[in-house]
Amino acid sequence: MPPIVDTLRLTAEEALALVERREVSPAELHAAYLEAIGTRNGELHAYLRTVETVEGASIPIALKDVISTKGVETTAGSKILEGYVPVFDATVAARCKAAGLTLLGKTNTDEFAMGSSTENSAWGPSRNPWDPALVPGGSGGGTAAAVSAGLAPWGLGSDTGGSIKQPSALCGNVGLRPTYGTVSRYGVVAFASSLDQVGPVAKTVRDVALLYSIIAGRDPHDSTTVELPEPVRLPDAERLDGLRIAVPRQIALLDAIEPGVRAAFERALELARELGAEVGECDLPVSYRYGMPCYYLIAPAEASSNLARYDGVRYGPRTEAETYHEMVERTRDEGFGAEPKRRIMLGTYALSAGYYDAFYGQAQKVRTLLIREHREALANVDVIATPTSPTVAFPIGDKAADPLAMYACDLLTIPSCLAGLPGLSIPCGLSEALPVGLQLLGPQFGENTVFRVGHALEQAIGFDTVPERLRAGSAPWGQTSEETP
């Protein structure tokens, strides 16, 4: 019997239509994805665990393992949360449930979402569906690999400095980091509270917009959330007439951007012009000069405090010792991997008496400048465009020993995260046979605009989101394999 659906090609919107027309039941759909997971997760390690029971009346979803799921172990990729089973759903998980979505499983992540490759997961790295020798990006590499390899129609990630956008770029998905404050963080294992945002990953901009509309909006459990000023609009326009797109002047001077990435980016801009958009320049000097150091003071500072609760007293594994303080020290020493330890130390230092003003305090001032700079840049244009990642996917192990090289992966995603602005990554072509991501940044609450631009470009680019090596036997929906270009 042929598979009931081709999970590699099926978009969430198509899956929803199948369920609505009762052509496929939620349980059949769930089973189809579990079967795909059974086939390919061994190689990709996208999921840490899967869920068999189907409770929702709609389609399945994958959730990054930093999102608390009632009754389902949630480890944030860390040994220190091994065996921790939340007694409550994160608000985003609850909203998915309320929309009828069924949890397929929890996807791999760098430990506490700290990383750009998933190599920092205590449970081992995920692999890129385009080439399993390569990383899928991170920290949300699990969700990105799952969506890319047809192991989920869509999923949720969390983004602090690029953890949704960068893996989406490296795996050829669409990913949205929403405006800070539009999606609840309640129940999401915290990395850096002033930066963390949950967002959707899917195969199309419309799917991403749809999932965003399900999770967004004020949550009384999260004081930093607000109601959306306007409802989410599913984009359908194919032209970009009258839209103004700006490219930061500083991009041209960044050596870190690979030529192939730059070429794909330029082609996307050319397409935007052909669709009627006006492509110009803007200026973000502070962002590219000080964004990284600013981020690596603020994020670790908040992390050092957020990770203090993992003390072995109330949940998670405990390493017994003679005294309380020894117990805490040994539990944390054994429970945390190298990257959280590194960031706890960086952050503790940045907040210490005598250093606060020079480091954390100074970084907050830079952040204010950066926010202002983005506001000014966006005053006269609709979106800012850059490549999402300076490189395509890189080999596992390539940067694992060099934290600074790893941190540089987020060079282009970090500034807008600090500014709290929405950013969408869409695939815009291949370089060295690997996906390249285009990052579209909008003003605060400008999701509808980035969706519109992203959708029009997506149609014009016509990127095939199915990894080349998986295409055999998988036809574009409604077509035969012979017709696949």
Binding site: V66, I67, S68, T74, A76, L81, Y84, P86, V87, F88, A90, R185, Y186, G187, V188, V189, A190, A192, S193, S194, P220, H221, D222, S223, T224, A301, E302, S304, S305, L307, A308, R309, D311, V313, R314, Y315, T323, Y324, H325, V328, T348, L351, S352, A353, Y356, Y360
Partner: protein
């Protein structure tokens, strides 16, 4: 050399809001261990705080009662340290932008109104309760097991920090009594030291009188009554004076006061100063109390205890006025006087007899009390005492007690007085040598002999005339 104590207080007040500071768990005592908890107050991964609006309003109300400025923006900050009673590894508190700043409280004294500065009053969450089982110290270091009850964790807590304006242990005690009464009257806390809803730490130093230097201070903790606070401060002041006078140097240390022995024990000195790595709480947005709210709260402030002491003092004296006000008795006193009772007699009866009889002053009828106060000299003492004891009963009437008549007939009382005087020659001699305070002793003996039926005033006059004769 004369030494002057310099004392500042840090006062923690648990607010009696319905729910906790940052979650919806109920606040209160008596529930089973760890039953009033949720993911937020247990610090589960991903749980987030939401500010309790009532706690914010009450903090501002208290700040206004203490004459504080209410800045336009207040910020919660994280105070980072590890302890099992602190589930998140940090306490959400306030640092550089508290709700209330730069206030003062007046402490009426015979000479003047002493102004005790209030540096700040800020809002934070209380820690959980730890019990250290086994070991000798009762502290975490020596314990076999430490148990944590998170019910208390997350209770709204206001910390009030005074300026080092207090100059004696007694003044500290009087300040605290007045502050406590202010808090209780605002209805925001029971402020009971025994229950831990009011906790006080004292910072103490001494300096040569007349100097304005600030010498090294020490901190005293674990004093759980106003009297112990006074004794603890007294002991520490004496200790510091001894250290300085013997050529030593006071070191910055923290002491625990042991009420049983009246001694101070230094805690193990820390190698370096605490670094709590305060930074603004990113899970909360700054709170900007609207001016209308502040003005509404200001208009709701009752007449403050210190003001009332000054007002009542005019009719009584400072001592009696203070006792009435800090005992929450002044309203009953005013109404009793308003119903025709003599001011001083009413004050004495309320502060001594009514309180001594354990009667709740809130349920007493001032009119009936006034009748009793006025009739006190005419009725038997036993009848008066019995009436006071029943003042709190619903529908109490003084009629039946006032109908009784005390024995005022000197002919009847004289033999009894003579007998008492004859039986106590020593006291008689002492009285005649100037110990006039013994008058009460003789009156008491006569009252005992007559089983409370004698008119105390008549007896008193009789005794006096006999002894001066």
């Amino acid at each position: 050399m004369t030494w002057e104590p310099v004392i500042g207080l840090e006062i923690h007040v648990q607010l009696k809001t319905r729910t906790k500071m940052f979650c919806r768990c109920p606040v209160g005592f008596g529930a089973g261990e760890n039953t009033q908890t949720c993911p937020v107050c247990l610090g589960f991964p991903g749980a987030l705080p939401v500010v309790n609006r009532a706690a914010v309003e009450w903090t501002i109300l208290l700040g206004l009662a203490l004459g504080c400025e209410i800045p336009g923006q207040a910020v919660f900050s994280r105070k980072n340290y590890f302890y099992p009673d602190l589930p998140k590894g940090y306490q959400i508190s306030q640092y550089d932008l508290p709700f209330c700043m730069n206030g003062s409280m007046l402490l009426p004294t015979a000479e003047c109104d002493r102004v005790i500065g209030i540096f700040r009053a800020h809002l934070e969450e209380d820690a959980a309760k730890t019990v250290h089982v086994g070991g000798r110290t009762g502290r975490i270091g020596g314990a076999d097991v430490s148990l944590v009850d998170y019910n208390r964790g997350g209770t709204p807590l206001v910390e009030i920090v005074t300026a080092p304006d207090i100059r004696s242990a007694d003044e500290a005690k009087r300040f605290l009594q007045l502050l406590r009464q202010t808090i209780v009257e605002l209805g925001i806390s029971d402020a009971e030291m025994e229950k831990g809803t009011l906790r006080v730490d004292a910072n103490v130093s001494v300096r040569p009188e007349g100097s304005d230097e600030l010498r090294t201070r020490t901190e005293i903790k674990n004093m759980n009554s106003f009297n112990f606070i006074a004794r603890g401060i007294e002991a520490e002041v004496e200790r510091q004076i001894r250290v300085w006078e013997s050529g030593g140097e006071v070191r910055q240390e923290t002491y625990d006061f042991d009420a049983a022995s009246g001694t101070l024990t230094a805690r193990r000195a820390k190698e370096e100063a605490d670094d709590y790595r305060y930074f603004p709480e990113p899970d909360l947005v700054p709170v900007e109390p609207p001016a209308e709210l502040v003005e509404r709260l200001r208009s709701e402030l009752p007449e403050l205890p210190a003001t009332r002491i000054r007002r009542i003092e005019a009719e009584l004296d400072l001592e009696r006025a203070t006792v009435l006000v800090t005992g929450g008795l002044d309203r009953l006193w005013e109404e009793t006087v308003g119903s025709g009772a003599d001011a001083v007699t009413a004050a004495n009866v309320i502060a001594n007899t009514v309180v001594g009889a354990g009667v709740d002053p809130g349920v007493v009828s001032p009119r009936e009390l006034a009748r009793l106060v006025e009739g006190r000299d005419r009725i038997p003492r036993a009848a008066f005492d019995e009436a006071i004891g029943k003042l709190g009963e619903p529908g109490f009437s003084a009629d039946s007690y006032l109908a009784q008549e005390a024995v005022s007939d000197t002919a009847e009382l004289e033999p009894i007085v003579d007998a008492i005087l004859a039986a106590n020659p020593g006291q008689v001699a002492a009285y005649r040598n100037g110990k006039e305070g013994l008058l009460g002793f003789f009156v008491g003996q006569v009252m005992k002999e007559t089983q409370g039926q004698a008119n105390a005033r008549v007896v008193s006059e009789l005794v006096r005339s006999k002894l001066s004769g």
